[in-house]
């Protein structure tokens, strides 16, 4: 099992952390923790909302949320904070577009539910296995929740370990 980062797109295994709709970047990472110091960025994750989250997260844990996750600012410190805490992936009903780009560009898998109502099948605190490429989320009771397949271009960025690793050949056209 890997955390889905560093160019790996293998399955992620961890506990579920559930969030609601319209979770914005200022809640994900309060401006006071904006910094170039990785430890300060890491500690800021959800600090105003619940300061115990960053303390209790374990590598491979998965964030599961409702609509419009990551709306707001383009500051990539929110992505850095999630990655520095070794969260394996984010699954949501849908994502705000800048957040989705930032996460994808940095190799953090963001996937959406094939059926939005399936959000209710994924309980906080339970263990899940998420396969980003197969686009499945397997719950503790064996239920397999279908996710929307990420598409060729997104998988290409994941496989490269992030957009910047596509720079030498980045002039080639992305495919649909």
């Amino acid at each position: 099992m890997t955390s889905g980062t560093d160019g790996a797109t293998g399955p992620v295994e961890g506990r579920v952390w559930r969030f609601g709709d319209d979770v914005n970047t200022d809640v994900i990472h309060p401006p006071a923790f904006y910094s170039l110091d990785p430890d300060k960025v890491r500690r800021g994750l959800f600090h105003g909302y619940d300061p115990t989250i960053a303390r209790d997260l374990r590598p491979g844990d998965v964030f599961v949320a409702g609509r419009n996750f990551g709306c707001g600012s383009s500051r990539e410190t929110s992505i850095r904070a999630i990655k520095l805490n070794e969260v394996g992936a984010v699954v949501a009903v849908d994502f705000a577009r800048i957040f989705f780009r930032n996460a994808t560009n940095n190799g953090l898998p963001c996937l959406t539910f094939a059926r939005p109502a399936d959000l209710e099948l994924v309980e906080a605190g339970t263990r899940v296995v998420l396969d980003p490429v197969a686009a499945t989320l397997t719950c503790a009771d064996g239920t397999v929740v279908e996710l929307v397949p990420p598409g060729e271009f997104v998988r290409e960025i994941w496989a490269a370990g992030g957009l910047l690793n596509l720079l030498p050949t980045g002039m080639s056209a992305p495919e649909s």
């Binding site: 780009r101 930032n102 720079l167």
Partner: protein, 425 residues
């Protein structure tokens, strides 16, 4: 097959792909915008990879988040950003000149028909001059700085037709807050919002900036106004063009049979002042329906509403009066150019006499960064664009978003009250 919307036309014009049906399109850009807080995040990668800038003349950089810095750590970040930009001899580095989005629309790089990306979500504001502009994160921007290109998904378009006559006490902020009430936070996610001004009163350019700016609060990728005589007059004046001279950009209007996902008509005739309650820009009610809310702080500024017309509206409201003794009223012009215009027009003196205080052109407390941040007990009425919980300071502080006129009236009253617009002033 239906015709093309404005964003279809602009993306086609910038497309580098033969295949115009592709889901993701590789496009060239006309300009890139960056500020201290987001650009600082990409400098190490830029240097480690030995990259160079594809066209320095098309990059506009400024320090606006930490301007001037309030802590030693932020001074170090600011110095890192400025040192990097100076080391590259960037021709459009603007030191302490104001908020990047305002500087972009004051600059010739921002033209009708253009495609611009910036390292900040409110880059979308340039849509008010018929530019397809959108915000991205540091990694995307680094890629574009190196290549002059990016990838885009062709967005569906929602057309918004503004009709009727906007009442004089209402402004662009009330218009966009009403749109947020109708569509909700995220209601235009991944969409291009295409604005058509069909009002008899005409939306002034500064009002359009406020509307395009907050299109991102609705989740939009672009918030672009159809080019018209207001766009042209703004560009002519800014670029110093005489009546017969051609515009520097290419004004774009949609095809007559453009295919829209949805068309919304917003009749502005009866639009009254609006306010977004904590903690969402989509939590909008008419001021007249708000429960009386005492405030401790009033903020007039930010890229959403720190322009000359905004400062004029506030100055009109407070002329000869005094800000309520319980209220700290902070005004931050969006740029040094706006500040100079406000000085010449006398607005700075009027506001200062009334008890408001001016800070240097910057993002200020909008992002919880600079002087004027809120404490736990603070309640702020603000012309900024986001009232997310904890954004302007303490997690328990509360921010109400409103027009500059409402901010000024509430600052005098010491409260946002439902009768702010009912009593004779």
């Amino acid at each position: 097959m239906s015709g093309r919307t404005i964003s279809d036309i602009i993306i086609d014009a910038h497309s580098l792909d033969e295949d115009r049906s592709a889901l993701f399109r590789r496009v060239s850009v006309d300009a890139v915008l960056g500020h201290d807080a987001t650009t600082a995040l990409l400098i190490d990668d830029f240097e480690r990879r030995g990259l160079s800038i594809w066209d320095k003349s098309k990059v506009l950089l400024t320090n606006d988040h930490f301007a001037p810095p309030a802590t030693a750590e932020r001074a170090d970040i600011s110095n890192k950003f400025l040192g990097w930009a100076r080391g590259l001899d960037m021709p459009n580095l603007m030191l302490d000149k104001g908020i990047c989005h305002q500087l972009l629309v004051e600059h010739r790089l921002c033209q009708p028909g253009g495609l611009i990306v910036g390292a900040d979500s409110h880059t979308i504001m340039a849509g008010a001059v018929n530019t397809c502009a959108t915000g991205m994160g540091a990694t995307d921007i680094l890629f574009t700085l190196a290549t002059g290109t990016t990838w885009l998904r062709l967005p569906p378009t929602i057309a918004v037709r503004f009709t009727g006559a906007l009442p004089p006490e209402s402004g662009g902020r009330d218009v966009v807050l009403e749109l947020l009430r109708v569509l909700g936070e995220g209601g235009a996610q991944y969409r291009s919002l295409e604005f058509h001004d069909e009002t008899s009163t005409r939306l002034p350019q500064d009002d359009r900036f406020a509307i395009s700016n907050m299109a991102v609060e609705i989740g939009a990728k672009f918030g672009v106004f159809a080019a018209d005589e207001v766009t042209e007059a703004h560009c002519r004046d800014r670029d110093g063009l005489g009546p017969g001279e051609p515009l520097l950009g290419t004004p774009v209007r949609p095809d007559a049979d453009a295919g829209y996902e949805r068309v919304i008509e917003l009749d502005l005739t009866d639009l009254t002042a609006r306010v977004a309650k904590p903690w969402s820009p989509g939590n909008v009610v008419p001021v007249a329906e708000l429960e009386p809310t005492e405030i401790t702080s009033a903020f007039l500024g930010s890229c959403a509403s720190g322009r000359l017309a905004d400062i004029r509206d506030a100055a009109e409201e407070v002329a000869g009066k005094r800000v309520h003794p319980n209220v700290r009223f902070v005004v931050i012009p969006a740029s040094v150019e706006v500040f100079k215009q406000a000085l010449r027009a006398g607005y700075v003196e009027v506001l200062t006499e009334a008890g408001a205080q001016f800070n240097h052109s910057s993002c200020g407390a909008c992002g919880g960064i600079d002087k004027g941040v809120l404490g736990a007990a603070d309640v702020c009425v603000s012309s900024s664009n986001r009232n997310f919980r904890g954004r302007m300071g303490h997690w328990d502080s509360r921010t109400y978003l409103a027009s500059p006129r409402t901010v000024a009236r509430a600052a005098l009253r010491g409260a946002i009250t439902p009768d702010l617009y009912r009593e004779a002033q």
